[in-house]
């Protein structure tokens, strides 16, 4: 029980956010939006970690959130650099154009 809200509600909310992120990664074709969906997945995890951390009265969950945020920032930095490089070669960020290796 966190401020009168049962923990299951937090799990549900995080799961819904996470699933929106997963569907977004699979369905969208714009690379920037795919990155945003991955961020959404990671933020769903952060919400869940903070909720559980409060539930257990244990700070390590909140410390873990900092690690997740730092790593997410590093991942996006690398991702946007690769994307800028792709754009320079292709003049587009539509991921359907990035399927030359299939055959």
């Amino acid at each position: 029980m966190l401020n009168g809200i049962p923990i299951n509600y937090y799990i549900m909310l995080s799961a819904v956010l996470f699933i929106i992120g997963v569907v977004g990664v699979m369905a969208r074709r714009n690379a920037i939006i795919i990155f945003m969906c991955i961020e959404l997945m990671l933020n769903a995890v952060n919400l869940l970690l903070v909720a559980f951390s409060t539930l257990h009265q244990d700070a390590s969950g909140q410390v873990f959130v900092f690690f997740v945020m730092a790593v997410a920032a590093a991942e996006v930095a690398v991702g946007l650099a690769i994307l800028a490089m792709v754009y320079r070669n292709l003049k587009s960020i539509d991921i359907d154009l990035l399927s030359r290796l299939k055959n």
Binding site: M41, L42, A44, V45, F64, F67, E75, G79, L101
Partner: protein, 462 residues
């Protein structure tokens, strides 16, 4: 543990080399550093720390040291293979990236907390994304890097959600505490704990590229520069399996009934999909990517036999050593052949037996080892996995594995046939650098030696 510090220090040194202008001596420095790390690793054997250190974050026990040894030895061979990859500009950046990836790999052998697991995976993966995309003008390399990044961070999302759910159930990130939580709380474990285990299973299967989560691997392996592909299929794979094994054999072993059936289906799918698709590939690099999926399936079988204690650890250690060494020697040949022809199609191998008998002979040994033909290391690697599986409820997987291995023999022999029985297109000899000749000789001898006296590795933990 000192090995981890030495490699981290080398990575920082490589970045400083640009500023303080000692680029020229960086390559020998790195080779010496890896030998030093291996030496420290060897010295710590049997007199290591008995308890986890740094706030119970890292625990270098003998199992971790053994896998670190495999990773460091492979890294040494890899640096010899990649010597002219580093002659382009940005040499110091490339060195730093590879060394930091190595730090992540060593962390994955020795983590004892979910935090270090997550950090290890990310420290290993993020440099690999950059390295996969390191040929900036080449669209195939761009595509490989981009796909690797998207799939890698997607898998990290699953891993984190799994970690969060397990934390919610147990209230701790410490692996030993989670392990004792499973064995003590029988019956009262919440459902989302098992959901967490399954999400971590999915994420780890993404990382080791087991079917049906393998679809990124062939594209990434083909698009990346060949030396980086060699890095991915040896060091990254060994580290990911060390982590997989530690998580699922040691920590979640007691909850085996919740994940072993799912893992069995994943193994069966990987065996069938990889071997059948590999048989129809024309590019040798892509064929090796599919073959790495089938090797992943074999190593997962050892994790499935989770009631055998150290026998599974021994089998995975032997398999990853045999597979890493075989892959290094196969990729050395592929690298040299594709450097001449510009592509790694099977036609490029035509008549290699006449153009350079030594290289062709080494490739034959590597292919026989990967296919699992007797006297080579690969045969005993598969044999030990089968003996493990006999004692479990998944005997049908042995039959499936033997059948699909027979398909595997077909595509490995396609390369051998091309080398010896296809006409030579152009008559010139193929010349290799001396360092690559020595590397091929060592890896080939090791493959044979491991096959002739397998007992030093396979009985290492009793």
């Amino acid at each position: 543990m000192k090995g981890l510090f030495i490699i981290s220090g080398l990575g920082i040194l490589a970045m400083l080399a640009e500023i303080f202008k000692f680029k020229k001596i960086l390559y020998p420095l790195v080779l010496l550093g890896i030998i030093a790390a291996y030496g420290c690793n060897f010295m710590e054997w049997n007199n290591n720390m008995s308890v986890p250190m740094f706030g119970k974050m890292i625990h270098f026990d003998n199992v971790a040291l053994a896998f670190s040894g495999v990773i460091l030895a492979t890294a040494f061979f890899w640096f010899i293979l990649a010597n002219d990859y580093f002659e382009h500009d940005h040499i110091t950046d490339h060195f730093a990236l590879v060394l930091f990836a190595l730090v992540g790999a060593l962390m994955l052998t020795s983590f004892s907390n979910m935090t270090t697991l997550f950090l290890g995976i990310e420290i290993l993966s993020i440099p690999m994304y950059v390295l996969a995309a390191s040929r900036k003008r080449d669209l195939a390399s761009n595509e490989a890097g981009f796909k690797y990044l998207i799939m890698g961070s997607f898998a990290s999302g699953f891993l984190l959600f799994g970690i969060a759910l397990i934390y919610g159930a147990t209230g701790t990130f410490d692996l030993m505490a989670i392990r004792s939580y499973i064995s003590q709380a029988n019956g009262s474990i919440p459902v989302f704990f098992y959901a967490g285990i399954l999400m971590m299973l999915v994420a780890m299967c993404f990382k080791v590229s087991a079917a049906p989560f393998h679809f990124w691997a062939p594209d990434v392996y083909e698009g990346s520069p060949t030396v980086i592909t060699a890095l991915m299929s040896t060091i990254v794979k060994t580290a990911a399996f060390a982590a997989f094994m530690h998580l699922f054999l040691v920590v979640f072993g007691k909850a085996g009934e919740s994940w072993s059936m799912v893992l069995a289906v994943i193994v069966a799918l990987s065996l069938v999909v990889s071997n059948i698709t590999a048989a129809s590939q024309n590019s040798v690099k892509r064929m090796l990517a599919y073959s790495s999926i089938s090797h992943a399936a074999f190593m997962l079988m050892a994790i499935l036999a989770n009631n055998r204690g150290f026998a599974s650890v021994n089998a995975i250690l032997y398999y990853s050593l045999a597979y890493s060494i075989g892959s290094i020697s196969a990729f050395t040949v592929v690298y040299n052949v594709s450097k001449e022809d510009g592509n790694s199609n099977i036609e490029a191998f035509n008549g290699l037996g006449k153009r350079n008998p030594f290289v062709a002979g080494c490739m034959v040994i590597a292919m026989l080892s990967l296919a699992g033909i007797p006297v080579t290391a690969g045969f005993f690697a598969k044999y030990f996995i089968f003996t493990l599986m006999i004692g479990t409820g998944f005997k049908w997987l042995i039959i499936l594995a033997i059948l699909t291995s027979a398909v595997g023999v077909y595509y490995y022999f396609k390369v051998i046939i091309a080398m010896y029985f296809k006409p030579v297109r152009e008559g010139q000899k193929m010349v290799l650098e001396t360092s690559h000749v020595i590397l091929l000789a060592i890896t080939t001898l090791l493959t044979l030696a491991l096959g002739i006296v397998p007992k030093y590795i396979i009985e290492i933990f009793g």
